[in-house]
């Protein structure tokens, strides 16, 4: 059992939902999140820009800012991981920085609260 955590653009959510449904995975969580990528900036410059100094803002550009993102969490059996990754990748890929990341984490167990089932049958 794996937990797939994907951070994607907000305006791609409808397409992502459709792609996941088409791939046979209907269940997922979505969270509102703010994130930044690999652009390194000086935190003093970033603090100056936040206080409204024009020079600092010009140096900073779009780096170091937090962007509104959606974080999707999908829990799937091991054999469906590649399907989920492909589905998310296919609709979210624009080729530009800021498309997001996908992480695959191991998960020990899951329980369906309604019936008390555990393991893979709880998520199928």
């Amino acid at each position: 059992m794996k937990e797939v955590v994907a951070i994607v653009r907000m305006n791609k959510m409808n397409q992502t939902k459709k792609a996941l449904t088409d791939a046979g995975i209907a269940a997922f969580f979505a969270h509102e999140a703010w994130g930044r990528g690999k652009g390194l900036v000086n935190s003093i410059v970033a603090a100056g820009a936040a206080q409204g100094y024009q020079e600092a803002a010009e140096v900073l550009g779009s780096k170091g800012k937090l962007f509104a993102k959606r974080m999707i969490t999908v829990v799937v059996p091991d054999d469906k991981v590649s399907g989920v990754v492909d589905a998310i990748m296919s609709v979210n890929k624009t080729g530009q920085a800021g498309d997001g990341k996908i992480f695959v984490l191991p998960l020990y167990d899951s329980v369906r609260v309604r019936t008390g089932e555990t393991g893979n049958c709880a998520i199928e």
Partner: protein, 120 residues
């Protein structure tokens, strides 16, 4: 070399300090989520009312296993209040990551320099 996801739950007023400390330490990539929860003090009791859904911020970052201790120390130093710390300063959870993909290029990442590395 394996990947590690570090999820830290910190005070909302300390979140900006932690994000700045991570940036200075050479780990710019991070995701911030608003969460609510309680710890082992069972919330805060003020008079007759118990507040057990205390707002916190969860900061999620993925780093190389080699940088784990350094990143955790950076977060702890930035998130602690006062000299010795107080109840409610938060927790840090560490879990393994099997795979990581960058959506814009579509590649499975093996070179961890794309998510930052410790500055000497």
């Amino acid at each position: 070399m394996s990947l590690i996801m570090i999820r830290s739950v910190v005070r909302p007023e300390k979140a900006d300090d932690v994000m700045a400390a991570l940036m200075d330490a050479g780990f710019p990539a991070a995701t911030k989520l608003a969460v609510a929860g309680r710890g082992k003090q069972r919330g805060i009791k003020i008079g007759e009312v118990t507040y057990d859904e205390i707002p916190k911020v969860q900061i999620m970052t993925v780093v190389s296993e080699l940088d784990k201790d350094y990143v955790i120390k950076t977060i702890v130093d930035a998130a602690r209040t006062g000299g010795k710390g107080n109840f409610g300063d938060g927790k840090i959870f560490v879990s393994p990551v099997d795979e990581m993909y960058t959506i814009s290029s579509g590649v499975k990442e093996t070179d961890l320099s794309s998510i930052g590395e410790a500055r000497p």
